[in-house]
Symmetry: C2
Subunit: 414 residues, 2 copies
């Protein structure tokens, strides 16, 4: 099985679609992440399954809509719910296929022992269970809190050191590293050596430090002779929040406009992904589960709905789907938006507009090829598309709502 790649998945927290030089940014410098795109592929229509952290990560790890997992909103340390033991995750799937697995960074899928990363397929874990603005900010190693006095400025380096050490220890066999950086989520902290270095202020310093540490990881893979055997991916969990660039897309984190859900995604795998490919095929982070399963020779569970599809053809060369599939974007249990081919339908709005006028203009139908910034509503021009997507949306929302009770019971451990 020498074709099976090692897999390194780097997820930044709240990094914007437009925050990387290779995505058009002219203020920040991200040469090392850019090099991944240059040596591999940039998927310019990669979506997070949600505009906020917890549901996005739930979908990423399970290949399923967050609603199926019962984790539809952001968890905080007061919540008792979390990722059910019944869910089958990317690391479980890869571990079952013979991979050694490790996670370093932000979990955000529950705080009870049964929710811990180590109970969901990761052989090793170090990191924060929550966002870095949720207190207490406790650093876990395995299942133990090693400090509640976390130096946030040291986290990016520390996670990277953990990842490199894990890779060094497992260089002889397939491994999966999920490196879920705490930054650039606020509060922004950065090592002294990067402080004041970027033209983009503290946020820029943080992004440039993340880039530097991604570079260290790439260098180590190269040094170990693992570059050709390792699929490295860098992405984000949702759009930017108070700072950060959407690259001109509308909305930010929290919104299901493109700026809230479209995420940067670059990947390299020399020999398998040609250099410099750019794809505009719509893809979602929940596609990673079946895709990585295919690459790893692992089995996708058949006893539950898996929403992701195997996008290996896209990832390894920019293939495209014969027929578009719909991608649905919720706020909690409300279906806000549907992407289908070039079209995007908005049915609801969050945050709710304080003028309470949203009923005056919804639904909205945008042509993302013509109008990537979601500027001009075309519902009057394309009633057939409106009808089709409205029907798809209604059926899918009904399906999700129908299984709400069961999904929430699983997330609550009942």
């Amino acid at each position: 099985m020498t074709d099976r790649p090692n897999i390194v998945l780097v997820v930044m927290d709240d990094l914007g679609y437009g925050d990387l030089s290779c995505m058009g940014n002219t203020i920040l410098r991200t040469p090392r992440i850019d090099s991944i795109a240059a040596e591999g592929i940039a998927l310019r229509h990669m979506y997070a399954a949600s505009a906020v952290c917890t549901p996005s990560r739930a979908a990423l790890l399970t290949g399923r809509y967050p609603q199926r997992v019962g984790l539809v909103k952001v968890l905080n340390p007061r919540h008792d719910t979390g990722l059910s033991s019944w869910e089958y995750t990317v690391p479980e799937l890869l571990r079952d296929a013979g991979y050694r697995t490790a996670m370093f960074g932000k979990w955000h899928l529950g705080r009870r022992p049964e929710h811990y990363p180590t109970r969901h397929g990761f052989d090793e874990y170090a990191g924060l269970l929550y966002s870095n603005d949720m207190h207490p900010v406790e650093l876990f190693e395995g299942e133990e809190v090693v400090t509640a006095d976390v130096d946030q400025a040291a986290l990016t380096r520390a996670y990277t050191d953990h990842a490199i050490a894990f890779i060094e220890r497992h260089a002889d066999r397939p491994f999966f590293v999920y490196l879920a950086h705490t930054m650039p989520h606020i509060p922004l902290h950065v090592e002294d050596e990067f402080s004041g270095r970027s033209a983009g202020g503290r946020y820029g310093d943080v992004v440039e430090s993340l880039d530097h540490h991604v570079g260290r990881l790439l260098d180590r893979l190269d040094d170990l002779g693992l570059a050709d055997d390792t699929l490295v991916m860098v992405t984000s969990d949702n759009g930017p929040w108070f700072e950060g660039s959407t690259g001109g897309l509308r909305g930010t984190k929290l919104h299901t406009y493109e700026g809230g859900i479209r995420v940067p995604f670059v990947a390299r795998w020399p020999g398998r992904i040609p250099a410099g490919v750019v794809s505009d095929e719509p893809v979602c982070l929940f596609d990673l589960l079946p895709t990585l399963a295919g690459l790893a020779g692992a089995t996708v569970p058949e006893d539950r709905p898996i929403d992701g599809t195997d996008v290996t053809a896209v990832l390894t060369g920019g293939g495209s789907r014969a027929e578009p599939r719909p991608l649905f974007f919720f706020h909690w249990w409300t279906l806000n938006a549907v992407r289908w081919g070039r079209w995007k339908l908005h049915l609801d709005r969050f945050p709710r507009d304080p003028s309470r006028a949203q009923d005056k203009e919804l639904p909205q139908l945008f042509d993302l090829e013509l109008d990537p910034a979601e500027t001009y509503d075309l519902k009057d021009r394309h009633p057939d598309v409106l009808d089709h997507l409205t029907g798809l949306a209604a059926r899918f929302e009904a399906e999700m709502v129908a299984q709400r009770e069961a999904a929430e019971a699983r997330a609550a451990g009942r």
Copy 2:
């Protein structure tokens, strides 16, 4: 006084900064408005004094911050307040200087007789007193309601017909026409001949019809031999709302990010404004009062604070200020933002973020030259600028709040 120009001021309602071809739009076609920029000037850093209608228009007509006028939020037909008789407006100033004055379109500065446009300097008026989504939608002529069964699709043409007829009747003497279009505020209505014509959906149809009717007005001025004697300006009252382009600027109507307050502004005055000038000098619509006073040989009142300054040098050739002045942007009585030179400071946020996390990241300081999309906060990098603007803001907000009671009393007619 043959040098005194006729003045035509066209204000669209909620038209976005990026909705015109001459402002970079690639979807909508606005050749007639573009021709104004081509034959004259585009001011790319023109601001409305507020991110919503009523305060923006109060400032436009008085040359003063909306807080001084006591009109800080959007009026609706249930409100009794309005533009005080004590205020001295652009049309009063021009009428006092010998101009014939007329207004056609949306007023939005009060509903009581003493608030009517005809009581504030306009010899003639026809239009809606409110936004077209506020009921009843009544069409006024002078001080009488002529119909409560308004055909909104006919308004753009009807206002333009009124303006043209007024110009024809007063072609021999200086005139001022304030053409305050109801569109593209929602609900969007458009004549059949424009319906379905634009690539930008119904909103695009509406904008293209506005462009067509601006063209009719330009043509009539040309036919009458008045082109060289007439300053024609086209602008908007705030950023776009549910549709419409900010041209990549952050935020929309309601926000004091640039997308909510920066408005398109083009002007032509053959012989006085050179063709094809583009200026990035920060200007505000409340500058029109002293500027037009200068052009008309009129007198700016000295018995009250006037916040606008005479920007004739900018308007007629792209001059710039030796020293930047601060421009302040409020939500109601709260000072949200300050523009000063290349800098923009954000102190508060509206709409309030539902995550209630705004205290985590405010204030924000952006360098609009480097970062026009207000992406990366530089407050840590420029503490001197932060201190200076924070001080300016605190003093100005205190000044406004100190005169709140008096301003509100005037607006209430007490």
